[in-house]
């Protein structure tokens, strides 16, 4: 039988994901060698390199047994997967932000239950946030550089992820509310979690033993 197949996210939490897997004794060295391949094999284990937002898709369908992905992505997609461990790394906040000059205006609109236009890469999170407050929003889904939207009048505010707040500051955007906070999570396919429980549980145990020292 083959070893576990792991979906590893490219981008911001790539290094954190590697550190976590390494702490559990997985042979992740190959992933550092060459950044262009999509599938790596080492000692029976397999690693899929994927966009963070695709990690839950691979795992939900069983194309990967386990994966590492930010809670923000899980909140947005709500995939049917097991969420097993908080890796504690890659911390960031989902925030509502608006241009400094417009903050008061946006706050007043929200208070009066007027419809505000929100630019975001996380339409489901944004919609749930406004619905949860009993407020109305017109959500405009974007795929990158969300900060641009309020600067050119596409939206009045944004719902986006921020780690340090630098990008927000550079674009003169101010955080109006913290919606949720996010860290990297270990997820597993429902079938793999049971059929290969010994391997998955062993991995988590090793992370628990060593992970806190590394992470």
């Amino acid at each position: 039988m083959r070893g576990l197949r792991v979906a590893v996210p490219k981008g911001a939490i790539f290094e954190d994901a590697l550190a976590a897997l390494e702490s559990a004794g997985m042979p992740v060295g190959v992933l550092r060698d060459d950044g262009r391949r999509l599938l790596y094999r080492a000692d029976g284990a397999e690693f899929i390199m994927s966009r963070p937002s695709d990690v839950p898709v691979f795992v939900e369908h069983g194309a990967a047994d386990i994966g590492i992905v930010g809670k923000d992505v899980l909140d947005e997609q709500r995939p049917n997967v097991m969420e097993l461990r908080d890796l504690g790394t890659g911390a960031c906040q989902m925030v509502l932000a608006a241009p400094r000059t417009k903050v008061e205006e946006v706050r007043r609109s929200i208070d009066h239950a007027e419809v505000v236009r929100v630019g975001t890469k996380f339409p489901n999170v944004a919609r749930r946030y406004f619905e949860g407050m009993g407020r109305q929003a017109e959500v405009i889904e974007l795929h990158g550089s969300v900060e641009l939207a309020p600067l050119v009048g596409l939206a009045e505010c944004i719902v986006d992820l921020t780690a340090t707040g630098t990008t927000l500051r550079e674009n003169d955007l101010v955080v109006m509310d913290e919606i949720s906070s996010s860290t990297a999570r270990l997820i597993a396919n429902r079938g793999s979690y049971r059929l290969r429980h010994r391997e998955v549980a062993g991995l988590i145990e090793a992370m628990n033993r060593n992970g806190d020292r590394v992470g």
Partner: protein, 415 residues
């Protein structure tokens, strides 16, 4: 160049036409499943595809259903599952006969959600419901039937599939006793399969309780190995409800063991199924190499109350398309293409069928090469022409033709 097909002539998103040989495999599997259901005394029911929207209560299922309106402007749903319609049927139609009601079905269900995520909007569920008995023997009986079905269709327990068994009342009972304040939140988090959230909630509690809340849903292991049950008992302490649930699970396992070894049965105390639905045993079947459940079921003692008949119930549903995709390849039934426009050809076809040879009669005078092409297009292994004294039979892939008496063809083509 062929003209572009207008969009309205394609099938709607998430639905598809099913062609042979896939359709044959699907209906074959369905027939074999229903035969096993009958062997266990479950009798088929058919409910309408349309139900009043009020019949389905669970918000997630309602959201996922296709909706339409009847002439009185009542909202209708295309059934997103069959258990609730069967519960309605039992409460409305069977109240004058004695329980338990052992019913089975194989019907298509319809769901909007999942389209675009590789899931179908229309798929078939075959299942059973045993309504009106709270006996653990009924839980074990339906589980055994499910395993029997899977084995009959060629799947080996432990190798090709695993049945994961939980007891929803165990964790719920423990939480109600030990930490009633957070119980609903913990159960909601676990129904979402979010063990991280379970941990977060547990942090507000005293260490011993927190440890049990964290560890119980992580108890997973082979049913044949008694240590999982023992550890669960340890975490439950003196909680009465949890102890009763554990005793119920032990009884179910005793019944199952009386039938055969517990190969392929795994215990998982974190498996509670849909939020607030299952009240006792709950199980899912996973096939190796398939990321989704092939079947799932359990005890749902609260559902019938909605229809005015508070009856306990247990049952399962198999997702037929997923089951078929997990099945080992099976040789298709033989088929003979008999070619000829003559009356003799019609007679020969009828004679072959009398000896149980499946015959597709092509009532045209086609030359052998074209006939063989046609035969391959319908997955037939043989081409046959009427001949003096019998028929001339040849393999569709080419080869020697031979003259056989009609009665001898069966021995040749049916192995």
């Amino acid at each position: 160049m062929r003209e572009k097909t207008p969009r309205k002539f394609s099938t709607t998103p998430g639905t598809r036409d099913v062609l042979p040989p896939e359709s044959t495999r699907l209906l074959d599997a369905q027939a074999r499943v229903l035969a096993r259901f009958r062997l266990h005394g479950f009798r088929e029911v058919i409910t309408p595809a349309l139900e009043y929207s009020e019949v389905i209560e669970e918000p997630k299922l309602r959201d996922s259903a296709f909706k339409l309106f009847d002439p009185d402007n009542q909202m209708l749903l295309l059934r997103p599952e069959v258990t609730t319609p069967v519960a309605r049927l039992v409460a409305q139609r069977l109240r004058n006969s004695p329980p338990p009601y052992k019913l089975s079905y194989s019907l298509p269900v319809y769901r909007r959600a999942g389209v675009g995520r590789g899931q179908s909007a229309e798929f078939r569920q075959a299942g059973v419901e045993a309504v009106g008995s709270a006996s653990p023997g009924e839980d074990a009986g339906t589980i055994a039937l499910l395993v029997d079905v899977l084995r009959t269709l060629g799947l080996r327990p432990g190798t090709d599939f695993a049945l994961v068994l939980g007891q929803a009342a165990f964790y719920r009972g423990y939480l109600k006793g030990a930490a009633p304040g957070v119980a609903p939140d913990v159960l909601a988090a676990l129904a979402d399969k979010d063990l991280v959230r379970v941990d977060e909630i547990s942090r507000t509690l005293q260490p011993e309780v927190a440890a049990s809340i964290r560890e119980i849903p992580r108890l997973v292991g082979p049913a044949a190995d008694g240590s999982v049950l023992e550890r669960a008992a340890g975490y439950a302490g003196r909680n009465e409800e949890a102890a009763a649930a554990l005793e119920n699970l032990r009884l179910i396992l005793d019944h199952l063991q009386a039938i055969g070894p517990l190969d392929g049965v795994m215990l998982d105390f974190g498996l509670i199924g849909r939020h607030d639905y299952y009240t006792g045993a709950v199980y899912e079947v996973y096939a190796s190499g398939l990321g989704f459940t092939v079947a799932n079921g359990g005890r749902y003692d609260n559902l019938l109350r909605r229809f005015g008949e508070p009856l306990p119930a247990t049952g399962f549903a198999i997702s037929l398309e997923r089951l078929v995709s997990a099945l080992p390849e099976r040789r298709a039934d033989p088929l003979v293409v008999l070619v000829g426009a003559s009356v003799e050809a019609t007679r020969a076809a009828s004679e072959l069928r009398d000896s149980h040879v499946p015959v597709l009669h092509l009532a045209e005078d086609l030359p052998p090469a074209q006939a063989a092409d046609y035969a391959r297009s319908v997955d037939a292994d043989w081409v046959c022409y009427p001949a003096p004294g019998g028929v001339k039979l040849a393999p569709a892939v080419g080869g020697e033709a031979e003259i056989l008496a009609p009665g001898a063809v069966a021995g040749r083509v049916i192995s």
